[in-house]
Amino acid sequence: MTTAQAPHIALGLTDPEFELIVEKMGREPNATELAMFSLMWSEHCSYKHSKKILGQLPVEGPHLLMGPGENAGAVTVGDGLAIAFKVESHNHPSAVEPFQGAATGVGGILRDIFAVGARPIAVLDSLRFGELSSQRSRYLADQAVAGIGHYGNSIGVPTIGGEIYFESPYEQNCLVNAMALGLAPVDQLIKSAAAGVGNHLVLFGASTGRDGIGGASVLASAELGDDDGSKRPTVQVGDPFEESKLVECCLELLGKDLLASLQDLGAAGLTSASSEMASKGEVGLDIHVDRVPLREQGMEPFEIMVSESQERMLCVVTPELLDEVLSVCDKWDLHHAVIGEVTDTRHMKIYENGELVGDMPVPALVDDCPVYTLAPEEPTEQIYPAPSVDSEAARAARAAFDDNAQGILTALLASDNISSRRHYFERYDCIVGSRTTKRPEQAEAAVLHLWKQNESGAPIPGPSIAVSIDGSGRKVAADPYRGTIGNVLECAANIACVGGEPLGLTNCLNFGNPEKPHIAWQLTESVKGMRDACNALKLPVVGGNVSLYNQSADGPIYPTPVVGIVGGVPDPAVVATNTFAEEELFVGLIGPFEPTLAASELAKLIGDELPTRLPDLDLAKHAESLTLVRDAVRAGTIKVARDISEGGLATALAECSLGGVGATIDIAPLVERVSRAYPDAEPHQHARTALFGEGPGGIVVAGSREDLLALSNSAASMGFLALGTTGGQLLTISDPTGTLKEVSLPASEIQRIHGGALSERVSS
């Protein structure tokens, strides 16, 4: 950084952007105004590089209550209940300080949920780090997980699911995405538009300090260099204790109908919260910074306006209700202050001790940031190097690759991206709230029971929901369009496996620098894929988040569109599990599953190049197949369901055996399908692809012989394949081509390999 740099450049604004601000203001902005513009015109707040392409996502559906534009989206789930949900990233803060970065990420997404009037009932996380052979990655993963647990556990919201993957493109730019869900009576949802000229603006919760100053514009939009030193003073510290009081206080205020509107303070603090409330309500606001409860002496007006101190909320209150609102804040021992009023000026006016220190038209601040058109350019060749992973599992996979199916399978089961995530998810409270009927590893999606309480406090049954979060980066790197479709389909498959009807989708688009043409192309293709998949599933996008500039001198991250889906489940007692708990069940495979080794976990272990294209998909057929599975699960026909993901069919079958019951499997029908798709390949390649190939749409199911045979008739067009029978302690998978040494593994051995690999690896 040169000392001669103009302030607006240091704050992340371009010269043309600055000129536009001067034009809109009719003069040069002062320091306070410039700080506020730089935040509101940052990528994080203005979506200036993504707004145009996000417009194509479908945002309507029969269950939709609140779509993009509010703090969180919401869908109806029956019985007069709504589920609000959203996913958000905290990637850059977590790369600097993983514990606090991840903790405050959870705190922030929870505030988005109770800001719309919903009681938070669950958190999920989606995490990406570099390879576990890197000490830094082990440290980041450990601390991020600890931070998420610290916040979620302490506030009493269960963390019921998530995902964690290790890939070298995330070495310098880890991803920490958190999703939260909240429950509310439909009529209690509240919007954030400020209303009622003359009403009071009340700030409550934690006091305001210097933490996070510059965080939004610097931390969220700049590429991370090797030296993070300059960003250090901006670390925000989370206080889940304060937030637990804040949740109760907000819900009490809303329950008593005391608020005109409510908004959380997140990135860009008071600046973004207040100006967005003003913009949505088409009003103006007067704000007196000297009335803000401070934690530190001598803070400048601009510091107060941009501080990212956590655990704060802003509400609009009519004069008659003010005393009652403040007394509820007192009950919960929260700081509070009337910091301003709603005006009809359509200006944000900032005062310090009565003196006007900032005066900006609301539209200029919130709506007039230029929106850029991306300049996408498809790369002529793969821009990511072949994956290289240094682990025992990778060496074992290479040794077994040619002729030993069992060796490949055991290597996959012990690999960093497939072995049990227990080491991490045990650090989350997954049961508090008494709603979790399917915990991590008990089913393909988490299931929550939405009981209500009768007058004497006892639970009365209600509807249930299923929820899952997914986002393979490697497959999107291989093919942004089809890879993204795969992410949506995988998430939807998880929901279908527990009998869920998908109601709404949220997403977080984690990408590199969109000003680079290849990244722009990834982003454009990915959003198209999400659009097409959502349309095929008739699934509205209820909201989401975009995290760009995830790149370093080593290059961009894998493009990682993370999707979260909420589904409705009529009866939590009729939900398929994901292990063979019973003997003598018939095992089959449903779905238009066309496995390929390209970009698979096995390809990664042996160091294969990433392809530039994945197989085409028949989206209508995929949608139909998921509906069929869902209905059969709901009917109790399918008792066990597991979607085929990393590690292919063989891995899915091995994971189905984790319950202790094995199976005898013949994969001939799938080998036949593969050989039709790849007529030129050798028999051993057909067998390997059938066993370990990946792709969307494959679900391993088990049920009674009669039930599944009946299903197979109606599902013939869905590509139903009969595979075998459950029973005994052993999983045997025979290879009809006779070219690979067959699999014959005791369930206990599968448990041992799969269960212990990760904790051994991270503690070594």
Binding site: V96, E97, Q100, A206, G209, R210, D211, R232, V235, Q236, V237, D239, F241, E242, R295, E296, S309, Q310, D333
Partner: protein, 77 residues
């Protein structure tokens, strides 16, 4: 000969210290008055052969320099 060292680790000034705040708010109810500026930190005590390593040990492991200050006090064992 090993040296006994005490390291005092405190939340950095300006960084939120929720523990200190919570303790301070709780004290009056416990019958203690006239207490202010409460901060809760950590204390690490150890014996070390080469005390010149202490500084870098604090930076790398004992404290989190992003959010904590530390002070090393040594006394021979």
């Amino acid at each position: 000969m090993a040296v006994k060292a005490t390291v005092l680790i405190r939340p950095k000034e300006g960084i939120l210290d929720p523990q200190g705040e919570a303790v301070e708010n709780a004290l009056p109810a416990l019958g203690f008055s006239g207490v202010s500026h409460v901060h809760v930190g950590r204390l690490v005590e150890l014996e070390i052969e080469d005390p010149s390593q202490l500084e870098s040990m604090c930076e790398k492991l004992l404290a989190n320099p992003l959010i904590e200050d530390y002070e090393v006090v040594t006394a021979s064992a």
